[in-house]
Symmetry: C2
Subunit: 435 residues, 2 copies
C-alpha cells in the first residue's frame, strides 16, 4: 500500500512554522507498513490543489491530508477532494450543534462561514474532532482513499489516533502497537551491538538519534492488542538482553523520569551541585511531576567562591587542582549531600566553552562525582566531550551523564570503570581523584 | 518569481527526521520576495524524481533542492536535474582534490563512489561546499533555474548564504538584509498595537510566536548592503517607538542574552533563588557565553526546608503565608542577594502543576520578586499563568518573566504595576506582600 501526505497551509509555504505533522504522519504510516512516496505542502489555491489531488490519487492508494479545514472561503480542501473522489458534501446538523456549543463554551458566536465546517461527505464518512470545531472527512473511490484532518497538531494527532489509524488497521485486519526503548550512547556504537535485530520483521525496529542517547522504536502487528503488546515486550527484551543497562527505560520522555521514578521507588533523596551545567540537572529533575518527593536542594555554584561558601569546598583544593578537577567535583557532591541531608548527590564541574581551555583540560572536559551517604562512597568520572560540540550540547551531555550516575546509584547498577573512593579519601588524599 | 522546494531523502519520508530545511528555505525565499507555491519531499527514486522535476520546472521559475548529493548509487538527483535542464556533468579535478583532502584530515580514504560527488555541471555552475564533501550545482535553461544543495542542514545553510542567495539577489539587482526584533507578549496583543506596520513593503515585517514572546522579522531590500541595513534599522525603530520596552532586543537568541549583556555593561552581579522553575533561570543565564562575569550563585530551593536553610526564609512566614506567596518570594530573593553578595537577585515560587492547587492559588500562580542591593528595594509581581498550560510551559513563562524583571532592574526601566517595598518591609510587615 502506498500513500502521499498533503499538508495544506500558507504558513508552511512562508516558513512561519516547521512541518511536524508530515514527520508524525510519515512515522505512523511507516509503522502501519504503508509506504510514503511523497510529501507535499501546498497553499489554499483550488487549481493547484486539484491538480495535485488528481495526480496523487492516480499514483497512490491513500492520500493523507492535514490542514485546509478552516472556516474561511479560501479553505476549499474538503470540496476539492470530494470532487476528485466523485463525492459531494452535505450540511450535518449534529456537527453544527457541536460547533455552536464549542463557541458558546468560549463565549463566542459562530459566523455563517463556520457552517462550512459542518459540511460532511455524502458517501464517505465524517471524522469527529474531539479537540476542535472542524470535523475531518474520509473519502473512498476506485480502491483509493483520502483522509482529511485538521492542521492543528493536537487536533490532527487525536483524530489520527482515534479515527484514521483504527480504520487503516481494520483495512489491514490487524492491530499495531509500539514501544520505545531508550538507550544511552551513539547510533553507531548501538548499531554495532544490535545491528542484526533491526532486520526483524515483527516487531520491526527503528533507531532515532538524540543528544547522547538513542530511541529504538519497536512496532508489532498482531490480530489483537494483547498479542501486539506481548510481541513489543518480547522485542524490547531482545534488545535489552544485548544492550544491558545502557538501555535504561521504556516509553518515558527521558532519563530524568527514570531517575525520579527510581528514587521514588527506593525512598531516596538527591541533591545537585552544578557548575558548568548551570542548573540543568536540577531543571530536568524538577520538570518531572512529583519531583518534590525526591529533590529538595540544588546548588548552582558557578563561581569558585560559591563552591567554597555553599558547598564547603576548600579554597586550597581549588587552588591546587583547579576548579575543573576530580577533587573539586567530589567535594562539591559531598558538600551538597551534607547541606541537603540527602542520601545521594552529584557534583559537576567542567569546561563548556567556547573559551577557557587549560593545558591538559580542553573544552569539553567535565568531572562528574556521585556521593552516596548510605555507603560513604564517592564515584568519580572524567568526561572528554568533544570540543567541537557547541556549549549547549556539552552541557546537555554532561547533564545526561550526571543523571545516569544518579540512576546507577539509585538502582545499584554497575559503575564500570568509574573511580570509587571513600568520602574520607576526598579530604585526606585528594590526589587520588586528580584523574 | 515563483519557486518550489524539493527535499530528497528517504529519512524524511520515513519520518525519522523533521524537515527543518523546508522551513528555512521557505522563510529565506519569502524574504527574497520569491513565492513558494509547493514544497515536496521525495525519495531516491529516479522515475518519481524525474516526473516531479519536469512538472515543477514547467510551472515554477526556480527549483530549490536539498539532499540527494550523497556518494551512493541511489543518489541520482544531480544527474536527473541535469537531464531535465539539458545539461551534462563532468569530473572536476579541483573538487576531487578537496574530497580527498577532507577524507585525509579525518583519517579515511574516499571510495570510488565518492568520485560521483566530484561531478559538476558542464553548462551550469558548481556551488562549493565549505562544510562538507559534496559540492552543489546550479542549472539554468529556458528562463528556469535549479539550485542543488546538500541535505545536512549546516552544509545547506552555509551554501545557501554563500552561494545561492547572493546569486538570487544579483538576479534581482538588489541586496536583502534582515533583523529580528524580540518582543515580550502574545501575538494578538502585539498585533493590536502595531498591526498597520505589517502592511509596509520595504522593509517587510513578519511576526513569529514563541513562548511568552514574539519575534518580528524585518526584511529590507536596497541597492547595496549599507542601505538595506539602514532600512532595517529604521523599520526596527518604528516598531520600538510603539512597542516601548516590551521590545527588548535585536538579533539575539533570547532574553537571557540581553540580561547578561546588560549586567556586563553595568558591572552588576545577579543571584537566583528558584523553586517552581527548578533551576531554569540559572540554566538560561549560564548558557550565555561569558555568564561567569555576572552570575556566581544560584539556589534551587525546591523544598520548604531549603528555603529556610539556604536562604534564611523564616519558617513562620512560610507557615503563615504558604510557600507559594509574595512574602516568601521576596524573602527568597533577599536571601540569595545576601548569600551571594550580589547587587541583584530574583526569587521565584509558584505552582507549575499538574497537582498542588490551593484555595485562591490555582495552578499557574507564580510569585516573582526582584531584590536590588543598591537601592534596598524589592519588587514583587504575581503572575497568573493559565492552568491549562503544561507544567513545562508554565515554568518557561515564569523564567521569562524573571529574566524580564532582571532586565528592568539592570537597565533601570519602568516597573509598571509591580509592587515596590523596602527590604525592611519584607521582615516587618510581610502582609503588604500578601498579594
Amino acid at each position: 500500500m502506498t500513500a502521499e501526505i498533503i499538508c495544506v497551509g500558507t504558513e508552511l509555504l512562508l516558513g512561519d512554522i516547521v512541518n511536524t505533522n508530515a514527520q508524525f504522519l510519515s512515522k505512523e504510516l511507516a509503522e502501519l507498513g504503508i509506504s510514503v512516496m511523497h510529501q507535499h505542502v501546498i497553499g489554499d489555491n483550488v487549481a493547484r490543489l486539484k491538480e495535485l489531488v488528481l495526480q496523487a490519487k492516480q499514483r497512490s492508494d491513500l492520500l493523507v491530508f492535514s490542514g485546509g479545514l478552516g472556516p474561511t472561503e479560501d479553505d476549499l480542501t474538503k470540496e476539492t477532494v470530494a470532487d476528485a473522489f466523485g463525492d459531494t458534501l452535505h450540511f450535518d446538523e449534529e456537527e453544527w450543534q457541536k460547533i455552536e456549543s464549542f463557541f458558546a463554551r468560549t463565549g463566542r458566536t459562530p459566523t455563517p462561514n463556520n457552517r462550512k465546517q459542518a459540511m460532511v461527505p455524502t458517501h464517505g464518512y465524517k471524522l469527529p474532532n474531539a479537540h476542535g470545531t472542524a470535523p475531518g472527512a474520509w473519502f473512498a473511490a476506485d480502491g483509493h482513499a483520502a483522509a482529511l484532518m485538521p492542521g492543528v497538531p493536537r487536533e490532527m494527532k487525536a483524530m489520527w489516533a482515534e479515527q484514521v489509524r483504527p480504520r487503516l488497521e481494520q483495512g489491514q485486519h490487524c492491530t499495531i502497537r509500539s514501544s520505545t526503548l531508550r538507550v544511552l550512547g551513539g547510533e553507531s556504537s548501538i548499531a554495532a551491538k544490535v545491528g542484526p535485530l533491526f532486520a526483524a520483521e515483527n516487531p520491526t525496529a527503528a533507531i532515532y538519534c538524540k543528544t547522547g542517547e538513542c530511541e529504538i522504536r519497536l512496532t508489532a502487528r498482531a490480530e489483537n492488542a494483547p498479542e501486539a503488546e506481548a510481541a513489543c515486550r518480547a522485542g524490547v527484551a531482545r534488545f535489552r538482553e544485548i544492550l544491558g543497562d545502557a538501555a535504561y527505560d521504556v516509553d518515558v520522555p527521558g532519563l530524568e523520569y527514570t531517575v525520579v521514578h527510581a528514587l521514588q521507588a527506593a525512598g531516596l533523596h538527591v541533591a545537585t551541585a552544578e557548575s558548568c551545567t548551570g542548573g540543568l540537572v536540577a531543571e530536568k529533575l524538577t520538570n518531572v511531576p512529583g519531583a518534590s518527593e525526591v529533590f529538595g536542594f540544588g546548588f548552582v555554584s558557578y563561581a569558585a567562591q560559591a563552591k567554597t561558601k555553599l558547598l564547603g569546598v576548600d579554597p586550597a583544593m581549588i587552588e591546587r587542582y583547579n576548579v575543573v578537577s576530580g577533587p573539586v567535583a567530589a567535594a562539591m557532591a559531598l558538600g551538597a549531600l551534607d547541606a541537603a541531608g540527602a542520601e545521594l548527590a552529584v557534583g559537576i564541574t567542567g569546561l563548556a566553552g567556547p573559551g577557557g581551555a587549560l593545558p591538559g583540560k580542553e573544552v569539553g572536559t567535565v568531572y562528574l562525582a556521585g556521593a552516596d551517604a548510605r555507603t560513604g562512597q564517592v564515584w568519580l568520572e572524567r568526561l572528554a566531550l568533544s570540543g567541537y560540540l557547541e556549549r549547549e550540547v556539552i552541557r546537555a551531555r554532561a547533564a545526561l551523564y550526571a543523571l545516569d550516575m544518579l540512576r546507577r546509584m539509585a538502582l545499584g547498577l554497575p559503575m564500570a570503570d568509574r573511580v570509587a573512593v571513600s568520602r574520607d579519601t576526598v579530604k585526606a588524599t585528594p590526589e587520588l581523584l586528580d584523574i
